[in-house]
Amino acid sequence: MIKFFNVTVNFYGEKRALDNVSFEVKKGEFVYITGESGAGKSTLLRLIYADLLPTKGVVLVSNKDVSHISKHSIPYLRRNIGVVFQDYKLLEDKTVYENVKMALDIFYLKKKSVENRILPLLRRLGIYSRRETLVRKLSGGEKQRVAIARALINEPSIILADEPTGNLDKERAEDIIELLHDTVEMGATVMIATHDKYLIDKHRGRIIELKQGQLVNDSEKARNTETTHLN
């Protein structure tokens, strides 16, 4: 599903945000990208949805080379990838429904079929009753559910989350990870960048650890370190 071959990213020539990173993620995997702040987690995810092109190396997504992707092809790549961020990236002055609808606008669907797709998803994510509420009036946990709804609405095969729980308290964070984990059962491949060790311990998954841009650890089992909660 996702393959990195000797991928290097240099921002200003000197410093390496990613340094010769190689790995492969198979369909249906649930992967944590960990490492301290500045280790290169966001950079790694950005390469997958072509928000950034590598300086060296090759990135394959669904067998397509996205390290040399053309501007014209990027939208079609992104339609198959749902992305969730720490800061939600929602429009605060629009309703929950309108925010989720944005991901469907680009398909020029009829009003009724838009509704038929959004409402069941909002129900599943527990924000159905908030559908006409402005995003600015929601709690952090609710906002992240809206962002997840927007990421899932087109049933992408890849879901990327960059510190999705960074602004949430422990319980909300667990809920969000739970929701993301559910999508694996539905066939999605999920990659979550987080430095929250507590969460990683809570939910099993593969762990790819970065340190100063290098891949230093890639293990299948959940780590069994102290359950400190960094955040």
Binding site: L45, V83, K89, D105, I106, N154
Partner: protein, 306 residues
Amino acid sequence: MTLKKQEIQKLLILINRGFLLFKSNMAINITSIVTIITALYIFFVFFVLSYSVDNFFGKLVNVQNIRGYITDSAPQDKINALIKRLSSLKSVAEAKFYKSKDSYEYLRKSYMSEKYLELLPEEFFPSFVEVTLKSNYQEIKFIKEIEGELMKSDIISTTSFGEKWLLNFLSIKVGLKIFVMILTGLLSISIGSVIYNTINLKLFKFKEEIKIYSLVGATRSFIITPFVVASVLEMTVSFLIAFILQYVTFYLIRHFFLDKLGVVFLQSPSIYVIFSIFFIMAFISIIASILSVFSFLDKNLGAIGE
């Protein structure tokens, strides 16, 4: 180009988004609409003036023929050769040679009373070549061309045509034309840049929205088209208002001044001219908005997840 029904539907949805975009930004729009109206209004006023002047002098300066007076000693074969050469010019309908006798007849017919002419001996009348222009070539520049042609010949002593004094007005005409051309250029640039900046302001307002659309896989045309539609709308509204304003202005001038003086001078450009100006302006606004969105996307959208 044949668009499929589905494509047309998509386009309609994007046009509709353009309308919404236009409506939702009235504060930004009004500033630029007023600016564009001002520029267009000034343009229209000078355009109509220039157009009227052009028409007015065009009619006066319209000359049908030119004469070249032939020297006494000119041999007939040289005259024939000249006639032949003149007849072959594309602007010439007819080139005709008048002997002294013909010349006498000619004058008798066109200008003076027979009695007066009878007092003069035939030798007093010069022989000349008269060149008549085709109706769609009756302009000073073609007359000038033929004059040059005549003067090249050594059997022609002088030339004369219509009202030479009207040539002075020609410089006014040319001056106004250059002025309007410069004005058009400046207008295009200023309207282009007003639209460019307006779109830029809107883009910054919608930066987050555009980022999100880009994140969920919107194509460039999905993002660009509404902005282009909004700028064409802005242009259209401004154009209509400026046009109505200039129309009212000239109507009032005509009604209260010129008609009373019995002067028919101001002439409104034809509907085709108006439409051409509109299409040029619409084209400029399309180009300006596309450039604006493209440069914005390239500068501001490389990084969604930074």
